[in-house]
Amino acid sequence: MRILRLQTAIEFRLLFRQRETVFFGLVLPLMFLFFVGVAFRSGVYRGYTSINSLLPPYLVMAIMSIAVVNLGISFATQRATGALKRFGGTPLPRTTLVLAKVLSSAVLIAVSCILLAVVSIGLYGMRTQGNPLWALLVLVIGIAAFAAIGIALGGSIAADGAAAVTNAIYLPLLFLGGSFVPVSKLPRPLADLAWALPPAHLVRALDTVLIHGQSLASTGWDLPIVAAWGLAAVLAASRWLSWE
């Protein structure tokens, strides 16, 4: 427990020393929220959605930026350089190492979510309602699922193509998660694809409990689908994860 705490603290500090992480995890979702908010105010999105519903897609963007792209690339790089093997030679259990990486990513995501909430409430006057604990629970399930996907990717792909592979997954997921256009407005085949993947469900679950203040039960199948993707990633990782 003491080791997990120390390892998490150091992994978290290291996240801030990498400019890419800070930009893609903290700055980019804020930039998107800002530009789309400006566009919304000018009337581009009128009739699509309420301004309140702008927040959830960018919370999910922050989760995916940090848990899939950053965690995936850094894990693949640390595997390739032999940094992970170095830890493998010590008594530090591998599960503790992975858990520390996931937890430190989760704390960074929390920072990103707070920034997004402050900007959306302060700048655009968005309103949230309902039980914040439900929103927190939805976020935790989402972070766990996407972190599992990030680890499964980072543990199996080659380091020199890691940025390309993770982004080839991340960017379509952003689109299909409603960060550019609300999923409800996507044409049929794209919408079907979107509802087969986790981001749209996580966005809708957050929208349900955080923006519309409804109960957890009214998120329906959204959370089980997100969790199922996470579970599939855990199974894939336990099968294909390599440490060097």
């Binding site: 120390l6 150091i10 290291l14 493998g88 030679g89 010590t90």
Partner: protein, 323 residues
């Protein structure tokens, strides 16, 4: 030609044979294959507690494969290995007692020296203090420096420090002084000597024969996954034979010296300056002296010249394939 056994040769002979106490490391008919390539073929040796043991060999000889099997990173394909009495393939508790310095020191690029040492010390049940450790490895001035800003030698020293974090009984050092400047190498050699003085068992692989000669109690030379020589550095160089050199006045035809027992080759380098080859140059030196006394010839500068460990190494191993 039976010569009386000299005490020194006896001592060396005993230490060259398998150590009598329960070994710290035991490798018995080890086999490791990568596909059809046999990296290690039937390798056996053992290391006594407190011993400094060097594994020498050209690139691709199977050094790192052997060390990584002993570290528990790789599975073996045949034979037995024991590390501190346990099987490294299955034992997790071994990690508390064994320190490892891998061949290419890698770490998080942005972690600082003191963070890395503190972190690694926290993994062990009876660690060295990070403060002591940073001073021991001579990086106290670099406590706040990030790993990626360190020089090659500094990275290696930090890597050695991390390997020492848990007060290990046994240390595996895979090419500990590769990429080091002479000063950093000296610091590392001193560190290894002080570890040995504290009774730590060390297995090191190296390309530097001088390093093996200087640090190791025993040296194993492997080539193509096979053991080709095992013994103390002095024992190995003696087995390779040597030269007897001397000057006579007046000069004598060199062929005369081939009649001396044990002389394999004789060469007159300049008139009156001779160089004889022998498997046992000490014995040949006596023969030359006796011959000179009997013939009434004046002999000066009579001396034995030993093969270096490097010459032994080159004799025993096949040159590395040009890639």
């Amino acid at each position: 030609m039976s010569s009386p056994a000299l005490p020194s040769s006896l001592v060396e002979k005993t230490s060259a044979s398998p150590p009598p106490s329960k070994p710290a490391v035991m490798v018995d008919h080890l086999v490791k294959r990568y596909g059809t390539l046999a990296a290690v073929r039937d390798l056996s040796f053992s290391i006594a507690p407190g011993e400094v043991f060097a594994l020498l060999g050209p690139n691709g000889a199977g050094k790192t494969s052997t060390v990584e099997i002993l570290e528990g990173f790789r599975a073996r394909d045949g034979g037995q290995v024991r590390v501190l009495g346990e099987d490294p393939a299955t034992s997790r508790s071994l990690r508390q007692r064994v320190g490892m310095m891998p061949q290419h020191s890698a770490l998080y690029p942005h972690i600082t020296v003191s963070e890395a040492l503190t972190l690694f010390c926290s993994y062990y049940s009876r660690p060295v203090s990070p403060q002591t450790l940073i001073e021991t490895i001579g990086l106290a001035d670099h406590a706040g420096a990030r790993f990626k800003t360190l020089s090659g030698g500094e990275k290696q020293r930090l890597s050695l420090g991390l390997a020492m974090a848990g007060n290990p009984e046994l240390l595996f050092l895979d090419e500990p002084t590769a990429a080091m400047d002479p000063q950093a190498r000296q610091i590392t050699w001193n560190l290894i000597s002080s570890l040995r003085a504290r009774g730590v068992t060390l297995l090191l692989t190296t390309h530097y024969l001088e390093e093996a000669q200087r640090l190791a109690d025993r040296v194993a030379i492997i080539d193509h996954g096979l053991l080709v020589a095992l013994g103390t550095p002095a024992d190995l160089t003696r087995r390779a034979g040597g030269l007897v050199r001397f000057v006579t006045s007046p000069p004598v035809p060199a062929a005369r010296f081939l009649e001396l027992p044990g002389a394999i080759a004789a060469e007159e380098e300049r008139p009156g300056v001779y160089r004889l080859e022998s498997a046992d140059p000490d014995e040949l030196l006596i023969e030359v002296a006796l011959w000179a006394r009997a013939m009434g010839t004046r002999v000066r500068d009579l001396r034995v010249e030993r093969a270096t460990l490097e010459e032994v190494f080159l004799q025993l191993t096949t040159p590395e394939a040009v890639e």
